[in-house]
């Protein structure tokens, strides 16, 4: 194989630029390990390196893109030629163009741990096996562990453009995730638990195992609730998924294309006064943290909603040019195979004062939602209609009561934000674009019996 490293590949792409065309190379490499334990043995173990380069060419106001999953010099040159050819078939766009340095220095964010690279595979295997054993041992009603996984990644990216940007970033990450089965001959319930970190010392196997066991066992004997409107408490795992969808509607890409329900609402009240939502990829605790965005501009803190008032959107350089503003350093790609779009990657609500027990204590009649399903089919971010499958526990007189399953919760994104009555203090960073936090929302429709 070629001995080219990331900067060499970037050079190779930029050297091929012709005339006054703009060329960008997005070069990525990750080393990943995945281990699955089952019944005390390794079921699957995969160790691999993935790499590739995405090439953007902007020529006469037209953009073209191509990628290749290799650093082979000939394939990289082919990708550049193909991107250039593709550009010829796009329609001209007066705002087309790559990012240009805006003078903002990338923040120091420490996302790389050398020691993760030195962890022997045996130790990773032992962690997966230990997770499985710990879940089985956590509760006598655990009848099986569907999967107990360890996974890690060490990812490096170099972005370079003929417009003068050249930025490198890298991060490590690891996680353990277990899925448990609880029950008996008549009934099975499932749960999961996980722990995430930058290196293995951050991982808490006991907590992940306890969560996996608790989430499954507390669902035993679950019944289908009657349909009614009531107050729900979303657990951090659930609220993070919903906040991710809300954040999606605050992308300037959706705004400029007329697909955001918040398009004309800047400086208006869009949420309850206790809702303050900030995108901050400079916060190293966030899974999506990074010093630079995916077109090479410095990451920065972006206020989205302040005390219920919409303050703005996240921008890439393209949406910023088109809307006559500045990029917020929010260009995000789905790896080297795609072009950047404006998107949140580290959004979080400002936490409140009360922990989850206190929040639940304040609810007389409601439901704690611990899991949702079908978000991709039940939430329409354009219309705002929201309907998801759910399971959780009844809240009665401020305490948790019987488990509930096979019901849906429904509202609209617009109404949901207005109906937030409390934000918890339990901000939780997850492997998602949003952090989770316990959230109390009034007047949500439950559909069951």
């Amino acid at each position: 194989m070629t001995a080219l490293d990331l900067p060499d590949v970037a050079d190779l792409v930029l050297e091929g630029a012709e005339g006054d065309e703009q060329v960008e190379a997005y070069v990525a490499r990750s080393r990943d390990a995945q281990i699955r334990a089952y019944e005390g043995e390794v079921e699957q173990l995969s160790v691999a390196e993935s790499l590739g380069v995405g090439v953007r060419v902007v020529r006469d106001g037209r953009q073209g893109f191509a990628y290749c999953g290799t650093f082979d010099a000939e394939a990289v040159r082919d990708a550049l030629a193909e991107a250039r050819d593709n550009a010829a078939f796009a329609e001209p766009d007066e705002w087309a163009g790559l990012a240009v340095d805006d003078g903002v220095e990338p923040p120091e964010v420490d996302l790389w741990r050398d020691d993760l690279l030195d962890v022997p595979t045996e130790r990773k295997v032992a962690m997966a096996v230990e997770l499985e054993n710990a879940i089985r041992a956590a509760d006598g009603r655990i009848v099986g562990v569907e999967s107990a996984d360890y996974a890690d990644t060490a990812t490096e990216v170099v972005i370079a453009t003929t417009t003068g940007l050249r930025r490198a970033s890298r991060y490590t990450g690891c996680e353990i995730v277990g899925f448990s089965l609880a029950g008996d001959d008549d009934e099975t319930q499932t749960g999961f638990g996980f722990s995430v970190g930058r290196t293995v010392d951050d991982l808490d196997i006991d907590r992940a195992a306890r969560d996996a066991a608790d989430r499954a066992t507390r669902m035993l004997g679950a019944v289908k609730p009657p349909s009614e409107r009531l107050t729900v408490v979303l657990d951090p795992w659930v609220s993070a998924q919903l906040l991710g969808i809300v954040a999606g509607t605050l992308s300037a890409d959706e705004v400029v294309r007329g697909r955001s329900l918040f398009a004309d609402r800047v400086d208006e009240t869009v949420a309850a006064p206790i809702v303050t939502l900030v995108e901050d990829p400079t916060d190293g605790r966030a899974w999506g943290a990074s010093p630079v965005d995916d077109e090479g501009l410095a990451s920065r803190r972006v206020p989205l909603i302040e005390a219920g008032t919409l303050r703005g959107f996240v921008h890439s350089s393209w949406t910023a040019r088109r809307m006559g503003t500045a990029s917020t350093g929010s260009a995000v790609r789905d790896g080297f195979k795609s072009t950047p779009g404006a998107s949140c990657r580290a959004v979080a609500l400002a936490p409140g004062e009360l922990g989850p027990e206190e929040l639940i204590g304040g609810v007389d009649h409601g439901v704690l939602v611990q899991e949702v399903s079908g978000l991709h089919s039940g939430v329409n971010p354009v219309s705002g209609d929201l309907s998801t499958g759910a399971q959780g526990l009844r809240i009665r007189g401020g305490g948790l009561a019987e488990p509930l399953r096979e019901f849906t919760i429904a509202s609209t994104l617009q109404k949901l934000l207005q109906d937030v009555t409390a934000v918890g203090s339990d901000l939780t960073w997850l492997t998602m674009s949003a952090a989770g936090v316990s959230l109390v929302i009034r007047d949500v429709a439950i559909s069951g019996q």
Binding site: M1, Y38, E39, E41, Q44, L45, S46, V47, A48, E49, S50, G52, F65, A66, Y67, C68, G69, T70, A79, E82, N86, A87, F89, A90, D93, T121, G144, E146, T188, Q189, T190, S227, R257, G258, R259, L261, K337, S373, G374, H376, S377, G378, N380, V382, S383, D385, S387, G389, R405, E406, F407, T408, I409, A410, S411, A445, I446, S447, G448, Q449
Partner: protein, 463 residues
């Protein structure tokens, strides 16, 4: 794609430290797409992914490695990594005699996508944009996407199997936004086949665009979906995802083996209404989940999963059927050479029945009619599943009436299967889909005739 002698030596390297089974999966995939949004052809994209995944099995442990380096040295090093990952103990030299096996392709490809100029592909987008916008002032936004891929694979394993496939797929998608007094609504329509550019001799992009536009405009008049449990009638073609979620995933043998399926231990039992005959068929010509061989080299098959309500079989991958010494079912699939294969569905459908579709609706006093379903999700261990409705109407006094806003429905697989009380004779395949499992996406198809479920929970907000 690769020299047979190189493959033989790679398998030998994979087995050198005592592996019981080794496999080399080689993939060369080229894809291209073109996207129009906001009235402008925004971007054309091309990609190439080429590499090999090698797995080595020792006991119940699978070691896996992949590489984008298809030279003999690159393959050897991946084979050694996979063998080390399987932590194999013993030694020895094994040579593998490869026997090339062939399987019929589900269909021929008329016009290879790479033979068609980019200009012709872009022109389809412009036509779709124009047709969607011609559906009225309410249509505010149109996004159209053309995509094609050609995926050549080669599988060789230490049992001596050597097989290849050349899989072509072409797709066209239109999504629209309509604006009215009630805010914004979206419409979506897609066609996809395992054929080339002749797709557009069969389908007019204008029709696809008009359907997407009509769906969005209709929903501007929609009322909130009801809440509670009621009968649901699903229209032909629109609702195969119901079976994909209600029981398809639960019949995947890997989940069954781990006790994570409500259908475990139920072979030979009545699991559904006698009206239900469910088939998974990877040989269906041109359907989105069709192929000649799966990603473990097994020829695609037509597998009857449920016959007249009786559970007849699960879906299998290579290693599970090999271990049990039973015939393979051709359901071992993977997203790419960077992934291990798993048990996956292909084209899953409910066989047509005898009822008149109109009678099914007419005999439903109050319920919901779903013309088009969105995606879904299932917990195979509990059987609880959800699926979205993207085009639905109320049924009142046996008549289809007002359109409904979007939402999810929720049910329990085993219960829903027994609650099916009518199956029409108007079978139709549905939309191309992507099925996700354990982080891997693969193309699948589904189909149903008109059918009725006596009781499903509608995830709406109205009383």
């Amino acid at each position: 794609m690769l020299d047979e002698a190189v493959i033989q030596r790679t398998l030998g390297a994979a087995l050198r430290t005592g592996g019981e089974f080794a496999e080399v999966f080689v993939e060369d995939k080229r894809s291209s797409s073109a996207m129009l949004d906001d009235g402008r052809v925004e971007e054309l994209s091309s990609g190439r992914d080429r590499g090999a995944g090698i797995r080595v099995v020792v006991g119940d442990t699978t070691g896996f490695a992949h590489t984008a380096d298809l030279t003999e040295a690159g393959l050897q090093s991946a084979a050694e990594a996979a063998a080390a990952a399987a932590r194999s103990g013993g030694g020895g030299v094994r040579t593998v005699e490869l026997t090339r096996q062939t399987a019929p392709r589900p269909n021929d490809v008329g016009i290879p996508p790479e033979s068609v100029g980019k200009g012709a592909k872009v022109e389809l987008l412009r036509r779709a944009d124009e047709a969607a916008r011609a559906e009225g002032e309410a249509i505010r936004q149109v996004r159209a996407r053309y995509g094609d891929s050609r995926r050549q694979i080669l599988v060789a394993n230490s049992d001596g199997l050597l097989a290849g496939d050349d899989q072509v797929r072409t797709l066209f998608v239109v999504s629209t936004v309509a604006f009215g007094d009630t805010g914004m609504q979206t419409g979506y329509e897609t066609v996809g086949r395992t054929i080339g550019f002749e797709l557009f001799d069969r389908y007019e992009v204008e029709d696809i665009a008009r359907t997407a536009a009509r769906r969005a405009v209709t929903k501007l008049q929609a009322r909130p979906a009801p809440s509670g449990t009621m009968p649901v009638v699903i229209g032909p073609g629109g609702g195969g995802v119901l079976f994909h979620e209600a029981c398809g995933h639960g019949l995947e043998k890997d989940l069954v083996d781990k006790g994570a399926s409500v259908f475990k231990g139920r072979l030979g039992q009545q699991v559904a209404s006698p009206l239900v005959t469910l088939v998974d068929d990877g040989t269906m010509a041109e359907e989105w989940g069709a192929y000649a061989i799966d990603d473990e080299g097994t020829p695609a098959q037509r597998n009857v999963l449920i016959q007249d309500g009786i559970l007849t079989d699960y879906m299998w991958d290579f290693l599970r059927s090999r271990k049990e010494g039973r015939p393979r079912s051709g359901n071992g699939r993977r997203q790419s050479y960077q992934h291990l294969p798993m048990v996956r569905m292909t084209n899953t459908y409910l066989v047509g029945g005898e009822s008149e579709p109109d009678d099914i609706v007419a005999s439903t006093e109050r319920g919901v009619y779903i013309a088009s379903l969105g995606g879904g999700q299932v917990n195979t261990a509990t059987g609880d599943f959800v699926f979205g409705m993207t085009e639905a109407y109320l049924i009142e006094d046996g008549q289809i009436t007002d359109p409904l806003r979007e939402g999810n429905l929720i049910g329990n697989g085993p219960k829903v299967l027994t609650d099916i009380d009518a199956v029409g004779h108007d079978f139709s395949m549905g939309h191309p889909g992507t099925c996700g499992k354990d982080g891997q996406g693969v193309p699948v198809g589904d189909g149903v005739p008109t059918l009725r479920v006596q009781a499903l929970t509608i995830g709406g907000t109205a009383a």
